[in-house]
Amino acid sequence: MQAPAALELNGITVTFRAREGGGRYTAVADTTLRIAPGEFVSVVGPTGCGKSTLLNIGAGLLAPSAGEVRVFGEPLAGINARAGYMFQAEALMPWRSALDNVMVGLQYRGVPQAQAREQAQAWLARVGLADFGDRYPHQMSGGMRKRAALAQVLALDPDIILMDEPFSALDIQTRQLMENEVLDLWAAKRKAVLFITHDLDEAIAMSDRVVVLSAGPATHPIGEFSIDLPRPRDVAEVRGQPRFVELHSQIWGVLREEVLKGYAQQLKKAA
């Protein structure tokens, strides 16, 4: 018997009611995805294909129109309490300073105030915001807000980590620092990670497996690639390895075709 997957999406279909009375839009169709405990899975796909939607399903924030979600073997009803979710959109509370935002999850857990503050401060430091704990979100730059959100999620030490383009607002250098931070954490605690990114390099450098989604509507996985690069990896160095380049061009081939297909559809319709 296999151990149950940390997160298991079985035949998920998501149909949005497009607008009042109007038609429907099927964002995701019959998608199955399993993430084993301790596995790092990246999802790539053309913009607007349904990646965030899938993550919302996995987090329990959105109920699928069809299909089933299982968390460590249990069917999911309501919020996925074992997951931490870093949203694509900005989700910091504007009425709390950076430090208070990072603390809030710990407070929910009932961690004593002083200890929560200490842990939160340590996390802020790890994402390079040690000096900015007293800033309110509107006083931070876009990248700083993203890092604060990252600290907020990681501080809780969840079993499943869902991340939606966490590093897209960071410069390359900071990005690599953050990537290594996440990889270290992952390596130490063997979390299950579901990671969305547009950066194929990033996806390959970090993951055990990369899943490519088709263009929408009715998105579904069209390719899965096992990344057999040796661990531990340093995200900056791994990019030079020949196996990396090989995987990159394989995945890129699939992805490129898909994006162009989606885009061509669009242009054709527009014409």
Binding site: L61, F87, M93, P94, W95, L156
Partner: protein, 279 residues
């Protein structure tokens, strides 16, 4: 020249004073007409009445007050009663409005069922309910408090209700993912996010708490500023009526200032304009 006079942050108080003086002058002018004065009183006489109410020193007869000005200092008991009623009504109404508003905003089924009843209750003429309150709460302060609560409550309620429903869905989802339970969501998401809604309603309801207390007294009481006003109306003493209104207004402004302070403290997180510093 004009630049120095131009309204701005600096000379704000000065301008407010100018408006006040203009208002008083307009009032005084209008009261030159006998018939009008019969309804709106005369500012000087009103001021005299306020003097007698608050200060223990009499003035001898003079040009403005041919009969002199007694210094009775006798308003304090009335004022105390009215203020007590107002503050109680404001507090109770706000708490009830907050509580029920939060509850119904978070319990969609209950809110859907009760919705028409709450709206119906809001559209009942309160004045007609006054005798019923007197029945339930007696003629003492509590019937006035009840009347004022019915005014304050609905204003706070509707704003809290709407405020809670306006919470950003992303922030809410984030807090839920971070493991907030119902109570924690309330405290860390719904309430802070609804604060500006709550305060907007508090600004309206400070005034209405006074209105409710005074109208309650006006409809039947043995003391309070509303009682003084009722007595004065019965004897066509319009100056006293307006003196009462002036005194109440001053206190309403004071209470509102307090609310404003609390608001400013709670809302520091909001972006303000001009956060760059001019060197």
């Amino acid at each position: 020249m004009w630049r120095a006079l131009r309204p701005g942050e600096r000379n704000l108080r000065a301008w407010q004073l100018v408006v006040l003086v203009l208002l008083l002058a307009g009032w005084q002018l209008a009261s030159r007409n006998e018939q009008t004065a019969f309804f709106i009183g005369e500012p000087v006489q009103v001021a005299g009445r306020v003097w007698s109410w608050f200060l223990p020193w009499s003035l001898p007869p003079n040009a403005l007050f041919p009969d002199g000005l007694p210094g009775n200092a006798d308003i304090y008991i009335h004022l105390g009663v009215t203020l007590l009623e107002t503050v109680l009504a404001f507090g109770i109404g706000t708490l009830l409005g907050l509580g029920l508003g939060l509850w119904l905003a978070l319990a969609p089924t209950a809110s859907a069922i009760l919705d028409p009843y709450i709206k119906a209750a809001n559209s009942m003429p309160r004045v007609i309910l006054a005798p019923i309150f007197a029945l339930w709460f007696g003629l003492g302060i509590w019937s006035k408090v009840a009347l004022a609560v019915t005014l304050v409550f609905f204003i706070v309620f509707f704003n809290v209700y709407q405020g809670v429903r306006e919470v950003s869905p992303v922030i809410l989802a984030n807090a839920r993912m971070l493991g907030a339970n119902h109570r924690q969501l309330l405290r860390t998401v719904y309430l802070p996010s609804a604060t500006s809604w709550v305060f907007s309603s508090l600004h309206t309801s400070v005034g209405l708490a006074f209105v409710g207390a005074v109208v309650g007294e006006y409809l039947g009481s043995a003391r309070g500023v509303g009682y003084l006003i009722l007595q004065a109306e019965g004897t066509f003493d319009v100056n006293t009526v307006f003196a009462g209104i002036v005194v109440l207004t001053a206190f309403a402004l004071a209470l509102d200032g307090l609310v404003g302070r609390i608001e400013a403290r709670l809302m520091t997180w909001q972006p303000r304009q001009g956060e760059t510093e001019k060197l």
